[in-house]
Amino acid sequence: MSRLARIGFVGCGNHATQNIYPALRLGVNGSPALKEPIGELVACCDMQEDLAKRNARVFGFERYYTNHLEMLEKEDLDCVIAVMRPKDQPGVAIDCLNAGLPVLVEKPPTTNLEDAYAIKEACDRSGKSVMVAFMKRFSEPYLKAKEIMAQPGFGPAVAFEARYNFGRYASPDTYDFLNAFSCHILDLTRFFMGEVRSVYASYASVQGDNAGSPLTYADVVNNPDKTIPQEEAWLLNFQFESGAVGMVQTNSLERVQERVLVTGRGSWVEVTDWRKVTGYVGTTEWPQTWEPHDQLPNDPLDFRTVHGYTGEVREFVLAAREGRTPVPNIEDGIAHLKIELAAKRSALENRPVLISEIS
């Protein structure tokens, strides 16, 4: 495709407005740091007209809609970005695929495997791809860590440790904690270590002002009241297909916090607070370190760039122009969902669960 990619956008919610719309300027068509634009902003859409109108005006879309089907019918688009609740994304993504357009959907792509499979089938049928916005894969700290892991002296990745936490989380009837929040760390685990063979999960919850012993996962899932905010901790032990091992804690008991550590042979790399990278490779006395340059008053320091939002929308638009399937795509979304479901089954059955058991 030689023309600029004509972009449609579905969803004008809080996350889209704060992170994804601004990333279009940074990665697609507006920043002085770009050599040339790669796309143009044609139309945006939200069921709430005031939000759609606001985002069209503020972010420079030519037109706005309150119905995505009408937008797909009336506009000459090359790709669509859909940022909505995971429950709402499959239908919109499939509509776009059926219209012959590649789609970028927010992570997690869906709340269940069936919907993710339906998206994959629509991809196969239409010959178009769905990218899943696991932006941490494009974030500078994790890309630096991968660079350090790729150095010859690092050795094979043998062990993975991570923690990824939040405060008291929404209730399950709104967002499931492991699905909606922890999907990042479940995907990062694969990004750094490759395919997961099995998961063994431990769980504790103090939801509902529970003052006694923490609740088990069975206590929580069997409680018909799904309006109680989630206050829980998951400890996940992994075996990878490579033979490596890993452990992740993800909880909704603290506040936003994140740490990743990968061990090689005589070497390791650590990323703290999604920001500071420290790596020891081989017998060196001094660590390799990296942090964003905080003095830079310009677009490369914008956290949407440091944190990967810019990279993900840019990769999506470039892939759409070039007619290729971007990574991460719906296969990665399915892989994350399988890990999530394996962890939940493990917490119920108190045993390691093979990913191959989840279909």
Binding site: G13, H15, P22, Q48, G60, T174, N298, L301
Partner: protein
Amino acid sequence: MEPLRVAFIGCGEHARMSLYPSLRSAFGGAPGGLPALTLSHEGTEQPPLAARLVALCDHKRDLAERVASFHHVDRVYTDHREMIEQERPDAVIVCIHPKRQAQTAIDCLNMGVHVWVEKPPAESIADAMAMAEAAAAAGKSLAVGYMKRFSQPYQVARQFMNQPDFGVPSVWESRYTYGQYPVDVYRFLNGFATHHLDLPRFFMGDIESVHAERVERGFGQAAYAILLRFASGAIGTVNTNSLEDPHSNWSERVSITGVGGRVFVENWRRVIGLLPDDTSRFYWEPEDIRPSDDQNSLEIHGFVGELRDFVESVREGRAPAATIEDGIAALRLERAIERSLAEHRTVQLEEVTSDA
């Protein structure tokens, strides 16, 4: 109250990277905080906009049209006088080379418009004073964009040192460095170091005298050691140089000593404060792991805050937090440093009333 009608003059790189992208938050069009984790935003009211951008201007029409297209600004001009005449905005934001800002700002003030200008407001005291006179004659605001004053780390440090136990602020130390500087385009003290000629006043009050030393290592490569005495009796030093890297980490550091209390700001980010009893160390960093507008670098570094304050000050009919008087004070300090270097002596700021 209707949103303020704002026009923008300048579409250069700094404006496009730091100012235009800040307008959404500064004008009140951004959601705040973490995503609400609710099923629907239906029924939630959008806060009223404090201002909106109605027109912009740059002498390069193609650049102006590109920026206007991106920011959905309906009208584009290549002449700022024509823009003010046609659009009659309430306020204008000016971000062009300091050599050209004075006349542009004066034109706008004479046409009855409140003005915000990028720092430094001008290259000379004479120009800055002419701007101040034009603002006074017009009865309009003239704000200067010293964004570091509005940046979260320095705001937090100021709050810390305002505690009684901190003691009287007595010593200022800072470093503010860059790589080889384009001195054929901008003057180093004026174009770069102006931030750290303004910040000491922001934290410590007016400056009484200055003694400066300088070393030069090549084209655009020089260092200044600047010794300050404040009207309060406090003392201070500034190392500002163009011998290191452009805006890398470790290029900016501030420390302030009280009596027993001290506070450090490292890399325009991390704030560490101690009080005499040393029982609890104060520690602050932006929580920019959170993906929300209030943790964006434009907000943390004060670009949003300086523009928000300008808009709010005009709406509230008050003076902005950083004015042309602060710009004149930085220019007088700049001239005093140059005079100290030329005459090898301590220069009293009261001696410096003109560029001569």
